[in-house]
Symmetry: C2
Subunit: 402 residues, 2 copies
Amino acid sequence: MIKKVLKFGGTSVGTIERIQHVANIIKNEYDNGNQIIAIVSAMSGKTNELIKFSKNISANFDKRELDVLLSSGEQVTCALLAGALLELKLNAKSWLNWQIPILTEGDHSNARIINMNVSQINDFLKKGIAVVPGFQGISERGDITTIGRGGSDATAVAFAKLFDAETCEIYTDVDGVYSSDPNKIPVAKKIDKISYDEMLELSSLGAKVMQSSAVQTAMMYNIPLEVKSTFTNRKGTKIFDQHGIDYSKSVTGVAYSKDDAKITLIGVEDKPGVAANIFEPLEKVQINVDMVIQNISSIEKKTDITFTIKRDDLEKTKKILEENNKIKYQDITYNDKVAKVSIVGAGMVSTPGVTYKMFKGLADKKINILAISTSEIKLSVIIDENNTLDAVKKLHTIFDLD
Amino acid sequence: MIKKVLKFGGTSVGTIERIQHVANIIKNEYDNGNQIIAIVSAMSGKTNELIKFSKNISANFDKRELDVLLSSGEQVTCALLAGALLELKLNAKSWLNWQIPILTEGDHSNARIINMNVSQINDFLKKGIAVVPGFQGISERGDITTIGRGGSDATAVAFAKLFDAETCEIYTDVDGVYSSDPNKIPVAKKIDKISYDEMLELSSLGAKVMQSSAVQTAMMYNIPLEVKSTFTNRKGTKIFDQHGIDYSKSVTGVAYSKDDAKITLIGVEDKPGVAANIFEPLEKVQINVDMVIQNISSIEKKTDITFTIKRDDLEKTKKILEENNKIKYQDITYNDKVAKVSIVGAGMVSTPGVTYKMFKGLADKKINILAISTSEIKLSVIIDENNTLDAVKKLHTIFDLD
């Protein structure tokens, strides 16, 4: 008997028919002799509807009450799915955050699951299916907490860890992780197996199949994940430790995102502490700086510093930079029409020439590189937003992913 | 400082604007120095929507899971109202069924509140407004329970009782209890004060302003109630012990209902035990028999028995009577086109001639009386459904209620 955590996202439970379909998926797994904990999200659209309600009341709706509000969404899905399973003559029961309880720490709307009581549910699993809500828990004080958008993935991984489940399957509306966005790059292929590292780079770069922090947790505790479609019977993408993966290709996927903005400070004094003076006030207001590149400037004894941030943070960043009297510079340029294109692959580090191939490919397409950043398993460039698809397609081809 | 329980029904919190309006009503009460516990229903339409979801999954949706499902409605309103109060710079906090906890006993969807922990909320009331969900609680086993449709009234009265509140105000979409249905009888007048007894007779007879069992509980513990409109500033109807009421009129109101059916068994043997044989099998399947009238029959040594039931139960009742071989009768007639019209008034018992006046009024209108039933404070007749409004208008006039 294998213990499985199955997580169903918002679109997978978006209608009554889909909830009934999910019940059948679970029945199939249960009839195959598995013990099942089903984690559910709110029906698609529900959380946004509730957030809209709150915003109509206040731009700064109280965070404690927002968590009370939003957590109702998964409660509804739990009850409906448990009811649908019972209708299939299976023994099933919903368990709410406070009934388990799922203990969290940290701020409202941004809590982390730290523990839960497993004994009751473990007893129940011997005779039935447990249905539990994703995305939420309770604090030590007994208040309802939520763990951030997409938090149901984190719930699934936390359950898999604490219940010592053999596998954690993430059912969603795509049938796995692709070598690039299949909607934009028709030749993109589904990846059968991928390492946690690669998945992390891909998901933080815009392949929004799974929440990054959930993948991180799975990596930390070595919990095998599988991302698969609720709507087809096809195999999904298995995510596990990279030692289990045979790398025949140096590059696993090409990702891109269009929500970045690039800022360049030209002619900054080249002395210690300058970078800190630039980034400290940004960090204070939680503006996330992504890539940072420092070059020698054409101006004597000066340097140019380029960095990227989320496009949404641009106005705030501009204001902070302009009010920052600790830094001196000749000029400043902003560009919010940029895209970040990245190649990702755990095999990259051991394959020579990957960097050259990437730059050559972009040059062939006459695409100008505005900034470059590298890591062990990723190589990202900032380019003009208009060239995004051209770049992704070209890279997809030259790294044999088509 | 006065402690008040204010209950807001589904239409009162049916939109965000209305929730904000309710927050202003509460602010006003709080600024006047009162301690406030606000009880809220689900936003209007929400409970029906959730019930529809459950019915699409199963005609016999599991009752435990149904309670989990439905209780989410009030949770949403609690959070939104608490948020709206905080936005008005008031200290406010939502408390869910399990956070208080509200302890219930009895079956799912039909539980009764038996106790709750008052100390935490009492502490909080010294500095802020407590917002709590109507209609629900938890069982001793820690399962969510609900207390039946309209159960928010019962929650309000239970809170008033256990928190020793000075008054319990039921905010709704009408501005009080009327001498008859104001939509049908334009001359109907709002009643300023009414006794629990009269209110019970009126509400069980179709003036569906408040849930009957909640009025009964209020009567039992002598909790002053007030029914008032969320949408006007007018005074509502105060409901209290009849000793506090000055009866200048014998009749307080005229009520009617059109959901009855009349059954007459003609020529039943007139011997002991016959009535029991008729009604026992009906009681077993929880068919509620309302009026029962027994007359001497035109057939020798026989009697005629007439009784009324809910119209919805007619087919089931027919079947039970036809299969009942313990009773013998000459003939049976069914009539589901009848209405029950009642005059209600705690002053009736001490006013001679009320009965005569009623019958005379109906006779003037050439309305045939099919059955009569009386109590201390109520006189009901069954008439042809088509005559309902004529009868109600006439009675309203002759008892000086216009």
